[in-house]
């Protein structure tokens, strides 16, 4: 990693030991001091116990991914040390709780800078506040890597201020004690440090899940219903706090079937509505996704993917719901699937999801994922004035000649919102005539399916160009989706720096596929590589089925995202 400009610090310990909260604080503090940050956390599905990890990447430039490995790791206990020992590389730094903590032996790892900091002992014996161990560690980290202590203390004040000055003081003391220990006892030998940044006014730091909620508010959501599920719950938590301020209603439904049912009813009533879930919930919603498609009711469903099938790996990363999102539910159901690359996308693609749902009157799925949902990242502050919001076509007037499912040129038929005089109609999951009356004739079913799919014919153009990063003379083009895009961007930089010629395509519209863009990209490059985090190579197979491309599928499925290094190595391997 470039010294002074790009640094990755990992903190590991037992769930419940303050790993996540200290990680949050260091990220906040760094962002406050003007640095770009991007975090990555893994934690057990259980509330207490088990290994928890929080990694923060700091930079002066936009950060594209979690990065490849880490520079510094801080271990709160023996398990964390064991978990990370094999990842330690030449030149890394290890900060660990010793002596007096869970780690029994002094560490002397060849090529690794080892800094023992008696976190437990300082917290317990010197400060008599055993729970402040994580803050002692933070103080040590800040001192070693020039993370602004002022910003860290401001963050502490903000986080604990409500609990009273005593709590704030305890944390200040722990931070100072950690820093002081480093000054007095440790001779820093590694080259890592973060040059201070310039605090920015136009930046926010927000998680992927919160960003989805913010996007929904910007799009004008006024009804939200969901059932708690890891790793999607924070979308509902964000909106539970904020949606009522705008006069909207949020309810916690009895299950995911009910939450989507609520949302369909609400949207039929003319109100922009949304739900969020993860794989198991999306499985339960399938019948009603088909109903929304059949009834042509705009709904937005955010699926924060996790490891599956079944209960799977609730807190781990996977991109394995694409088939379900694209091809789920019985019958031929038209729907749209978008997938955000990063936190900023979580805001703007959610707005786009609403726009598409409203414009085409159908369900739109937003496929986020666990590592993106939990990721906190700095981003440019959104300006609500620059948000384009589209609303569904509706009818007004006396309803003369109104047909809810009229066959129009675009395939989109204006909706009557209940309350519109003379336009009463029955929205139905049965196949229906333009008037909305049930009709099962061959001609009608054919015409109606053609309408529901045909209305998407201009979707690729409406959604906008698919970003491509071309390179003259390249033989290989790489296509990624979702949060793998950020990793691919960085992998392309690495591979090019190492002499590889490679192009990349970054589709955010993943169903129906942007076929024109894919074919144009495929025509330029002899080989196409599709890295993704699932067993079956889901995007690769969809591309194979829908386009002229014949991609090489590159999949990993261990519950973690790719590192840029992994993809860069694969690029070089394919080019060999």
């Amino acid at each position: 990693m470039a010294q002074g400009n790009d640094l990755i610090i990992r903190i590991g310990g037992e769930g419940g030991e303050g790993v996540i909260s200290s990680g949050d604080m260091i990220a906040q503090a760094a962002a406050r001091s003007g640095l770009e940050v991007l975090t990555f956390k893994t934690f057990p599905a259980e509330i207490r116990g088990g290994y928890a990890m929080y990694q923060t990447r700091f930079s002066h430039e936009t950060i594209l991914s979690e990065g490849s490995g880490f520079d510094v790791v801080c271990c709160f206990n023996q398990e964390a040390l064991d978990m990370n020992r094999k990842s330690l590389r030449q030149g890394n730094a290890l900060i660990y709780d010793f002596p007096g903590g869970d780690i029994a032996e002094e560490q002397n790892i060849p090529g690794v800078h080892c800094y023992p900091v008696p976190m437990t002992k300082i917290a317990k014996e010197d400060l008599a506040t055993p729970r402040s161990k994580n803050m002692v560690a933070l103080g040590a980290i800040a001192e070693l890597y020039s993370i602004s202590m002022t910003s860290l203390k401001e963050t502490v004040q903000e986080k604990f201020g409500k609990k009273g000055t005593e709590v704030v003081e305890v944390n200040y003391k722990a931070l100072d004690a950690g820093a002081q220990h480093v000054r007095q006892n440790i001779k820093k030998a590694d080259p890592f440090k973060m040059d201070p940044g310039t605090p920015k006014q136009d930046v926010i730091i927000i998680s992927g899940n919160e960003a989805v909620g913010l996007g929904a508010l910007l799009a004008g959501v006024r009804f939200f219903s969901a059932y708690p599920i890891t790793p999607a719950t924070e979308v509902a938590i964000f909106l539970a706090r904020h949606l009522p301020k705008f006069g909207g209603n949020l309810v916690q439904a009895e299950d995911e079937i009910a939450s989507l049912a609520n949302v369909i009813g609400a949207s039929y009533g003319g109100v922009k509505s949304m739900t969020s879930t993860s794989g198991p919930g999306l499985s339960l919603m399938q019948e009603l996704i088909g109903m929304a498609s059949m009834m042509e009711v705009p709904v937005v469903i955010c699926d924060v993917q996790r490891g599956g099938p079944s209960t799977g790996l609730p807190t781990k990363h996977e991109q394995s719901d694409l088939f379900l999102a694209a091809h789920g539910c019985h019958g031929d159901a038209s729907k749209v699937v978008l997938s955000p690359e990063g936190v900023e996308d979580c805001v703007y693609l959610t707005v786009e999801a609403f726009n598409i749902a409203e414009r085409y009157q159908l369900p739109v799925l937003l496929l986020s994922d666990g590592s993106l949902g939990f990721r906190t990242s700095s981003m440019k502050k959104p300006d609500p004035k620059n948000i384009r919001v589209e609303n569904r076509k509706t009818v007004s007037g006396n309803g003369e000649g109104f047909e809810r499912y009229a066959l129009t040129e675009s395939g989109v038929s204006p909706m009557a919102i209940p309350g519109t005089p003379g336009c009463a109609y029955i929205s139905t999951g049965l196949e229906h005539a333009p008037s909305s009356a049930p009709r099962y004739t061959a001609e009608n079913h054919t015409a109606m399916l053609d309408k529901r799919f045909g209305k998407l014919k201009d979707l690729e153009d409406y959604f906008g160009a698919t970003e491509a990063d071309h390179q003259d003379g390249a033989q290989l083009g790489v296509i990624a989706w979702g949060s793998t895009i950020g990793t691919l961007r960085e992998a392309v930089k690495i591979a090019r720096a190492e002499g590889a010629k490679v192009a990349a395509l970054y589709p955010k519209l993943v169903w129906p596929l942007p076929v024109k863009a894919l074919n144009a990209f495929g025509a330029k490059y002899k080989k196409i590589l599709v890295p993704e985090i699932n067993k079956q190579g889901q995007l690769a197979r969809l591309i194979q089925g829908e386009t002229e491309l014949r991609p090489i599928s590159y999949t990993i499925y261990g519950g973690l995202p790719f590192t840029p290094r992994q993809i860069a190595d694969k690029i070089k391997e394919v080019l060999k």
């Binding site: 930046v203 926010i204 009522p244 209603n249 609520n262 369909i264 009813g265």
Partner: protein
């Protein structure tokens, strides 16, 4: 439409779609009496949504001039709740049968009930699956022989009245489709109730249920005593449990006033200081580091 001074009639609410039910179906009586209740309360067809699930009785909305949704099997209540929560200004009435409401959709009932969701729920109970041509339903009696239970049904029936009462329903009534005056009266009361109102209407299926016929019910139907205290939950439960003695009590079992879901969501909005002009920049700025 008629002018405001003329009383509204059933025909003012009837759509042009003729009912698809078999001749002799109990649901005709429910439809007619319900439309009378609509006329009585001068229901506003442009601001009413009738929501149903799947089944014979769930075809109900097609036969009425209002807005409507014919949804998926078992999902009538959460869809109806969504309409009402998004558009409190609309009147939302849910319709369905015993299979839709208490089998496939049974998991939704406790929650719509305990939240006192602002809905009227009219259930036509024929103790059979008619649209699939005669299988045992959640209100069928134990031992009932149907095509899927040729040796007799091994299952005990649910008691829809006791079910709703124990989950905290604020309005529970039962009617019988052969007694249209009572149906009309109870539906009207349910429509005027603030909060979740449940009317279970015994509505025999002459085609597929050869046991629970109009004849079968003749001696079982009993009026709820005039002196029954409709605010007494224990007394209401005792009436609901008359089913154990083979009786079908008809009338209003229970009615109390309690805060509804919309009331409580209103309180939440008040606590959140809701305003249509709330500035989203306040939230965005909260995320500045």
């Amino acid at each position: 439409m008629t002018t405001a001074t003329e009383p509204l009639k059933v025909k003012d609410f009837k759509s042009t779609v003729p009912p698809t039910w078999c001749p002799g179906c109990g649901d005709y009586g429910v439809l007619n009496a319900t439309l009378k209740a609509f006329a009585d309360i001068k229901l506003d067809i442009n601001n009413t949504v009738l929501v149903s699930g799947i089944g014979c009785s769930s075809r109900f909305p097609y036969f009425v001039k209002t807005y409507g949704m014919h949804t998926a099997h078992g999902r009538v209540l959460p869809v109806a709740a969504g309409v009402k929560l998004a558009r409190p200004d609309l009147r939302v009435v849910a319709f369905g049968g015993d299979g839709d409401g208490f089998s496939i959709g049974g998991g939704h009932v406790p929650h719509v009930v305990r939240k006192n969701t602002d809905l009227t729920y009219i259930l036509m109970d024929n103790s059979i699956y008619g649209l699939t041509k005669g299988q045992t339903s959640p209100t069928s009696q134990t031992g009932m022989v149907t095509v899927t239970t040729p040796y007799g049904s091994p299952d005990n029936p649910v008691n829809p009245l006791a079910y709703c009462l124990t989950y905290g329903a604020t309005f529970v009534a039962q009617a019988y489709s052969s007694k249209p005056k009572i149906v009309e009266d109870l539906v009207k009361q349910a429509l005027n109730h603030k909060g979740f109102a449940f009317v279970n209407i015994i509505s025999p299926c002459p085609t597929f249920n050869k046991i629970n016929t109009f004849d079968f019910y003749k001696d079982m139907i009993e009026d709820i005593p005039a002196d029954h205290d409709t605010s007494n939950l224990q007394a209401a439960l005792a009436i609901a449990l008359r089913a154990k003695q083979g009786k079908v009590p008809v009338g209003l079992l229970y009615k109390v006033e309690q805060p509804t879901l919309l009331d409580r969501l209103g309180e939440i909005r008040k606590k959140a200081k809701a305003s249509p002009d709330y500035d989203i920049n306040v939230i965005i700025d909260d995320y500045r580091p």
